[in-house]
């Protein structure tokens, strides 16, 4: 029995429970935030509350734009809870893809079969990509469905562009985890690297927005590359999207070369 992409199939289909669970989590986040917009985000009382909060805080949380439907969606779902869930899922999957598999001792047996190491990395990266795209797709569909009922007023084109950036941002953390996990053969190193990209990106954005003295932090924040111009409100910055996706591709390539060159399971 010869099937094409056997490693991808195993990496994509076998953990369907995990994919489903994360999709459910993201759906819950969408249903939690978006229907509340008419009563919270757009109301005058909420605006008063926002005005009463320290401006540093609203900037850090990106809540300075919460008064409009697209801004509210950008800040709450894409910028906060959705970002968090997507990043955690992507990092966990990326770190497990090769580094975790090696640490648990299973990679050795796979490599003893008729596969190339580059193929192992690429097929598993493809599985990571598709799983992240599924999650992003779930968010896209749910926001589209809730757009009308929740009076969000999001332009469909802007939503599509924002989803591409949303997926690209999570994927960058995931491929960083995959790359570090593959280079070191340790799952925890993968998780550390992936989490660093996600968390530092978020922190650099939050701090960088505070004053012009630390604005340079925005330049090294993947979070800011993706969300600097609030894509749900203003449409995607396609150059930023290409940059995010291109970096992910480069990290996968580095992982493939690194695995090709080293001893496994030692």
């Amino acid at each position: 029995m010869k099937t094409s992409l056997p490693l991808f199939r195993r990496a994509f289909f076998d953990p369907w429970r995990s994919t489903l669970a994360w999709a459910a989590g993201l759906a819950a986040a969408a249903f939690l935030y978006l229907p509340l917009y008419p009563s919270i985000g757009g109301s005058a009382q909420m605006q008063e509350l926002m005005d009463a909060l320290p401006v540093e805080m609203t900037k850090a949380l990106n809540y300075d734009q919460i008064a409009t439907g697209p801004g509210y969606t950008q800040a709450t779902l894409f910028g906060l809870l959705g970002f968090l869930l997507m990043t955690i899922a992507s990092v966990a999957w990326g770190a497990a893809a090769v580094g975790g598999d090696e640490e648990s001792g299973q990679l050795e047996l796979t490599l003893a079969h008729g596969v190339r190491r580059v193929q192992v990395v690429l097929e598993r990266a493809l599985a990571l990509l598709l799983r992240v795209l599924i999650l992003a797709g779930v968010v896209f569909v749910l926001v589209s469905l809730l757009n009308g009922p929740s009076q969000l007023g999001i332009e469909p084109d802007n939503l599509a562009g924002a989803t591409v950036l949303f997926a690209g941002l999570a994927l960058l953390s995931g491929t960083a985890a995959l790359c570090a996990g593959t280079v070191t053969g340790r799952r925890t190193h993968g998780i550390s690297a992936g989490a660093a990209v996600g968390v530092l990106g978020y922190v650099f954005n939050a701090v960088g927005r505070q004053s012009q003295d630390v604005e340079w932090l925005l330049d090294i924040s993947p979070y800011h590359w993706a969300y600097g111009n609030s894509p749900v409100v203003n449409g995607a910055d396609w150059a930023a999207a290409a940059w995010l996706w291109g970096l992910s591709a480069a990290l996968v390539a580095i992982a493939a070369v690194a695995l090709e060159r080293r001893d496994v399971g030692v």
Binding site: L109, D263, V266
Partner: protein, 307 residues
């Protein structure tokens, strides 16, 4: 005869720690080659070099005529491998896992997986992570044997298996050999290798101490002999016995009336039999040679010499 696997001055270093210090051996095609040695001797490292899981720091390896570094997937499809420590996780059934390995190894004849599973009494429809160590090991064996590879590399294949399944495994090895497959297996117990292997290599501290046929090992091994004879004085019997080449540790167990002696014998048994022919024996026990003891001495011997 064709050589299926060979190593010349194989050296492997992990950082500054050298694990293999120049290992040499040849495995003839169609034979069973057993590597024994204490834990940490380098058995697993050697095997991983054959599969290109780790890369030698020096020396030359040939597997089925090809350098494993260059053989790629085509070479590995011709090999069946059982790792020393088998980890099978995930919520998949044994059948599904084997289907995955089937997709990335050589062609598997129809019905072969079920036949092997039945032989080993393995339930393929249970989730792998719920399997006991022995059952996981069986799954690993099925995975290694299913595509009837030209070369089987099995690292501690019987660990965790109960004696009945071990017997079945030995039968599988004999059948594979009969089909012309080559088997390279390791163990830290000799008795296991002794039952299946044609040739035994003893590995200790990253060096091959000796490569010997099992027959040769048996000849060189120590047997224990005990006999009871009539009509001879204990003193004379001891003198006769001590005169036989290879005899040592002579002990008189009984001396009133019948004489019972015990001793160890190393090497050929013919001289002893000739000497025993002169006696009026009432009892004779010549035990199976204890290869384990022979090997333990080999492990220990050079070590003592080094100090």
């Amino acid at each position: 005869m064709a050589i299926a696997v060979s190593a010349r001055s194989l050296v492997k270093k992990f950082g500054r720690r050298e694990v293999l210090h120049g290992v040499d051996f040849d495995v003839e095609a169609g034979t069973v080659f057993g590597v024994i040695g204490p834990n940490g001797a380098g058995k697993t490292t050697t095997m991983r070099c054959l599969l290109d899981i780790i890369r030698p720091s020096g020396g030359e390896v040939r597997v089925l005529g090809v350098d494993p570094r260059r053989g790629g997937p085509e070479l590995r499809r011709r090999i069946g491998y059982l790792p020393g420590e088998l980890f099978l996780e995930g919520r998949v059934t044994g059948r599904r896992l084997l289907a995955h390995y089937e997709a990335i190894s050589g062609p598997v004849p129809a019905g072969r997986i079920d036949a092997l599973a039945e032989r080993l009494a393995l339930d393929l429809d249970r989730h792998t992570r719920k399997l006991s160590k022995g059952n996981k090991q069986k799954l690993g064996l099925v995975q290694a044997f299913m595509h009837q590879p030209e070369l089987l590399v099995l690292d501690e294949p019987t660990s965790g298996l109960d004696p009945l399944v071990q017997q079945e495994f030995h039968a599988m090895v004999r059948e594979a050999r009969h089909r012309g497959q080559t088997i390279f297996l390791s163990s830290h117990v000799l008795s296991e290798v002794q039952q299946t292997a044609d040739t035994v290599a003893i590995l200790r501290d990253g060096r091959i101490i000796t490569v010997e046929s099992v027959t040769g090992l048996r000849e060189g091994a120590v047997r224990r002999v005990r006999f009871t004879a009539h009509g001879i004085a204990a003193r004379d019997a001891v003198a006769l016995l001590t005169g036989v080449p290879g005899v040592g540790q002579v002990e008189v167990l009984e001396a009133d009336g019948a004489v019972t002696l015990s001793a160890t014998l190393e090497g050929a048994i013919q001289p002893l039999v000739r000497m025993l022919g002169q006696l009026e024996l009432t009892d004779l026990v010549l035990e199976e040679p204890d290869l384990e003891e022979a090997v333990l001495r080999m492990y220990a011997g050079p070590w003592e010499a080094l100090r």
